[in-house]
Symmetry: C2
Subunit: 127 residues, 2 copies
DNA sequence: CTAAACCTTAGTGCGCGCTCTAAGTCAAGC
DNA sequence: GCTTGACTTAGAGCGCGCACTAAGGTTTAG
């Protein structure tokens, strides 16, 4: 039995907002900021229409944002993406450098959190 | 043999900046923001003078900041601190709630970082 | 035909956490 | 006495990541 997933096509910006959890404002902002090239438009009225590729791309952008990558770095990654296959190495390096920074920061947060935990422990002895 | 640690007393704001790794600007800002009550002043010239208690307190503030606690929450904590012993329970709850949020966020960052790692893995297959 | 509910753009505003500037005071060294 | 330099204050500026507003075009329901 093959599960067939229903894939929404040609979503309006509001539907896209629903699906991605971003606001329509933010979707337009990301496009202006160079994070989303190639958003199709309805020729009649100029409305944006998103497809499944956009959904997946936004999903990855959210991973980058959630791990603290600044908008300008995501724009850089996007530029590389649209420059073609010869930028694969650069993209790889960019992601690896990001991962390295995030892992470093995770360690630092954990260490500082331990100090907070020690303070909590101290307060609990006062109870 | 008892190790005697030399404790700096009556540090100027610049010395305090050196010791804490914060800028003098930021030290003044923290004070204005209500994170540092009771900074002694030289009676003649009004200069701030910091002591070891301040150093320890700033160190803890840095732990809170490094784990993402907003300035306003640290101010709240500071207020409780100066209200006296009857706020110990409130302070404990504040820190526990913070720890909870940070741990939750650590999990989320780790999850999203895994997606980045999967992408890295994909790029590496192209090499 | 009209009202509503969409969409578009350019531009402004906001909360955060600093960071810096301007104008002035004060102490020490020459 | 005068310069130098560290300090003081109030307030402005900034980079980030959105969030919102205003003014206007299009589509749909009644």
């Amino acid at each position: 039995m093959v599960m067939q997933q229903v894939v929404p096509e040609n979503l309006t910006i509001q539907q896209m907002a629903q699906v991605t959890g971003l606001s329509a404002h933010t979707l337009r902002y990301y496009e202006r900021a160079g994070l989303l090239d190639l958003v199709d438009r309805n020729q009649q009225n100029g409305y944006r229409y998103y497809n499944e590729r956009h959904i997946k791309w936004i999903h990855f952008i959210k991973c980058l944002r959630a791990t603290g990558m600044p908008i300008r770095d995501i724009r850089r990654y996007t530029e590389l993406l649209y420059e073609g296959d010869h930028t694969v190495r650069d993209r790889l390096n960019l992601l690896k450098a990001h991962r390295q920074r995030v892992e470093q920061q995770l360690l630092e947060v954990k260490e500082h959190l331990e100090a907070v935990t020690r303070k909590i422990g101290y307060y609990e002895t006062l109870d």
